[in-house]
Amino acid sequence: MTSNLVPPHGGRLNPLLCPRETLKDNLESVRGLPEIRLTSRETSDLIMMAIGAFSPLEGFMGEQDYLKVVESMHLADGTLWPIPITLSVDRKQADGLQLGTDVALIDDESGELMGRMTVEEKYGYDKQREAQQVFRTQEGAHPGVAKVYAQKDILLAGPVTAFSEGPYPRLFGSTYGRPKETRAIFAEKGWTTVAAFQTRNPIHRSHEYCTKIALETSDGILIHPLVGKLKAGDIPADIRMKCYDVLLDKYYPKDRVVLKVYPMEMRYGGPREAVLHAIFRQNYGCSHLIIGRDHAGVGSYYGPFDAQKIFEEIGPGELHIKPLNIDWTFWCYKCDGMASMKTCPHGKDDRVLISGTKLREMLSRGETPPKEFSRPEVSQILIEYYSRINRQGDAK
């Protein structure tokens, strides 16, 4: 079947997961190898490489790639890439590793053997510089920066072979999607323009509105929730999945929406993370990425539309997927419908604007947000969730 989808980043999908028929031999091959313990972020990055979402990467970044990515959002060969994908070890372990040797990659939390890497480089790096360039702040309170500062002092680089996708296929079943699979789905549907919607939160009316705008101009949409690790206080993936399921069932045309989850850990990197989101959605077969207000942001580290503006820095031909920029969206009582800053001439007193903090407080009190803010079915799931965690908190 001929595909009219955008090509993968770098020209071809490059999944690094070993074929099932070679898994047994691969597992045997790492017996006795030095073990490198991966943080949850490193494991999730390995899984993204395993499924080809991080095409064209071949493994954890070498020094030249790392430095060029930090300074200019490009790999050493000029390919656009906004965020370093790295693996760190302490100096003592690094000193004990010879270049050219293989190591076993173990997920530190689960103890699962995730893959094998050939160590081609080991190098020191400037964490503050990485924080400033990638996250635009050196403040340790920023959750993505905190993870960089928590990294060990030496980075290891080399090609990887992944053995596992972790718990995600089992936890999410057919909702867990790999780029090869979504491309096949889109091709079978005859879609060419596919808008991806990134989310780490339940979808409320303003987000729903963004996706509906995309549905007007695309063949279909990919609702693409992140199910890797989030920061404390974020809604867990299983609760969010219930919210997505009920919303898609009741409020979306079923033949025009695909829901698939992906296993990356959130970095809260704002603009640069938006570019990363775009790259791997292109690998998933999407022609557009919906970018609204404060995409991939946290706190007030980024301006509300910095994640849209960064795409203006990308050169022609460097990225096939295009941003679908949407302004601040809300319900306006005077417009009597969903609107945005671009379409609504009225004032803030006419609009339903509820901050994340206020929303959490309402839900924790069992108070249903206005239906103009969130669909009642979604609110009900969240109220039940907060009620349960409040009870658990009281029980401690």
Partner: protein, 84 residues
């Protein structure tokens, strides 16, 4: 003792600004996408504080030479991003 003692990184401090300035900032913030004047101010000041000493446009930041040039650069950046 320093007139400006260092605060623990996890704490927040209250800074007073003239009411007229707050009102002007409120007008700027309205419809900009920023949730509040506070968020806007924090964003601008973080940008100012992160100016790199090795940038060829600016000397190292210290209290002697925080210049109009650095402040103008922030203003230009905010304008180019559409916030002013």
């Amino acid at each position: 003792m320093s007139a400006n003692p260092i605060k623990p990184v996890s704490s927040k401090v209250t800074i007073k600004i003239p009411g007229s300035l707050y009102n002007r900032l409120s007008e700027i913030v309205d419809g900009s996408g920023f949730n509040s004047v506070t968020d806007f101010i924090v964003y601008v000041l973080r940008d100012l504080a992160s100016i790199q000493p090795e940038s060829s446009d600016f000397p190292p930041i210290n209290k002697e030479n925080l210049s109009q040039k650095e402040i103008e650069a922030i203003r230009k950046r905010l304008k180019s991003l559409g916030y002013l």
